[in-house]
């Protein structure tokens, strides 16, 4: 079986490697603005459970954008510089990048929680206290399970490896994000 490491040309490798650095830099700044705006919560416009869900959504997005910007292609191990342009890091920086990348899934779970919150409060007239008491712990628990716990396990067993242009992710194609 032949393995084509030159699947992407050098130009395409560079484009794919550094496009997320630029877009992530946008997100890092704007997420901080949104986080501060939510934290102040002027006028108490958001009910507390919705405020916490939105804060979590912003935080997970910020961590993923942080990883894309500051732990970009340079954080890949120098051994893989044959197919990653500008890989000058080591396995530790690769693992750090991969750990932050997993928070992308946390934002999906927070969006799911937002949908659940709106359905429950609009359709079933659930009060904010009831949501906080019965539903909200599971919303945050799923995020912690799918990001922090799984990421810690993967860090311990050294599951983070470089992929084509992604700084680090699980080897077994957990998301099949092999771009």
């Amino acid at each position: 079986m032949e393995v084509e490491y030159d699947f992407y040309s050098k130009t395409r490798q560079a484009v794919l490697g550094y496009i997320s650095v630029a877009t992530g830099a946008l997100s890092v700044v704007r997420c901080a603005i949104m986080f501060m705006g939510l934290w102040k919560n002027e006028g108490q416009l958001y009910p507390p459970p919705l405020l916490r869900l939105l804060l979590g959504l912003t935080l997970t997005n910020w961590m993923y954008a942080f990883s894309s910007t500051f732990l970009g292609p340079w954080a890949m191990p120098a051994e893989v510089s044959t197919y990653v342009v500008g890989a000058t890091g080591n396995w530790q920086t690769c693992a750090a990048a991969g750990f932050f990348q997993t928070f992308f899934v946390g934002s999906a779970w927070y969006s799911f929680s937002l949908g659940v919150y709106h359905v429950l409060t609009l359709q079933f007239r659930l009060s904010g206290d009831d949501f906080h008491q019965y539903i909200e712990p599971f919303c945050h628990m799923m995020v912690v399970l799918s990001t922090v716990l799984l990421g810690a396990v993967a860090l311990y067993y050294e599951y983070y490896v470089p992929l084509y242009t992604l700084p680090g992710m699980y080897k077994e194609l957990l998301l099949n994000l092999s771009f």
């Binding site: 992407y8 959504l57 993923y64 999906a108 799918s146 599951y159």
Partner: protein, 185 residues
């Protein structure tokens, strides 16, 4: 499934040659051992990290992989539910919620904005996860060498790499839009 494509060439072990089919097979056990050795050499490269615990980790990865599909389907259902609620049941809406000082319709529309951005960001991601193109198999599919999906794969990867980190940016646009709208009132 094969993960050899993700390892650099210098990390891959040298594969021992199989006995040729012309040579007479004297001992079946030796052939079995040879095939086992080949499999081992393919799947455990010398500088590979943490391969031994991979099987135990696979079950915890189900949460990760199918969690995305679960959230995607759930958000479709809840979005349709909210839209139906907003369109058909508006007369039954009341602003007597305990915490809702502004109209719940307006709050629901803001929430729909965040969910629309979820769709925008995660639809390419889930499409890539489901189609699973395996770019390193291009041109190696036996006699059929016309499966060059490199351009399409590059386009998908570009969209995904561009949109994934921008999720927070787009969420902030929704947030600031509604903040300005509330401030102008």
């Amino acid at each position: 499934m094969c993960f050899i494509g993700y390892y650099p060439p210098e990390c891959q072990a040298q594969v021992p040659e199989l006995p040729s089919s012309d040579s007479p097979v004297e001992n079946t056990t030796s052939v079995l051992e040879a095939s086992n050795t080949t499999t081992t050499a393919y799947s455990i490269p010398p500088c590979e990290r943490g391969y031994g615990e991979l099987n135990t980790f696979y079950y915890s990865s189900i949460l990760f992989r199918y969690g995305l599909l679960f959230t995607f389907c759930s958000i479709i259902i809840s979005s349709v539910w909210i839209i139906v609620n907003l369109c058909c049941l508006q007369k039954q809406q009341s602003s007597t919620h305990q915490y809702h000082r502004r109209g719940s319709n307006e709050m629901a529309i803001e929430g729909m904005g965040y969910m629309a951005i979820y769709f925008l960001v995660f639809t390419p991601v889930i499409t890539m996860a489901l189609t699973d193109p395996y770019p390193h198999y291009v041109g190696t599919n036996g006699d059929d060498n016309n499966n060059d999906n490199s351009n399409a794969y590059f386009a998908m990867a570009l969209v995904t790499k561009c949109l994934s980190p921008m999720a927070g940016f787009l969420n902030t646009l929704v947030f600031l839009f509604w903040s300005k709208r509330r401030g102008s009132k």
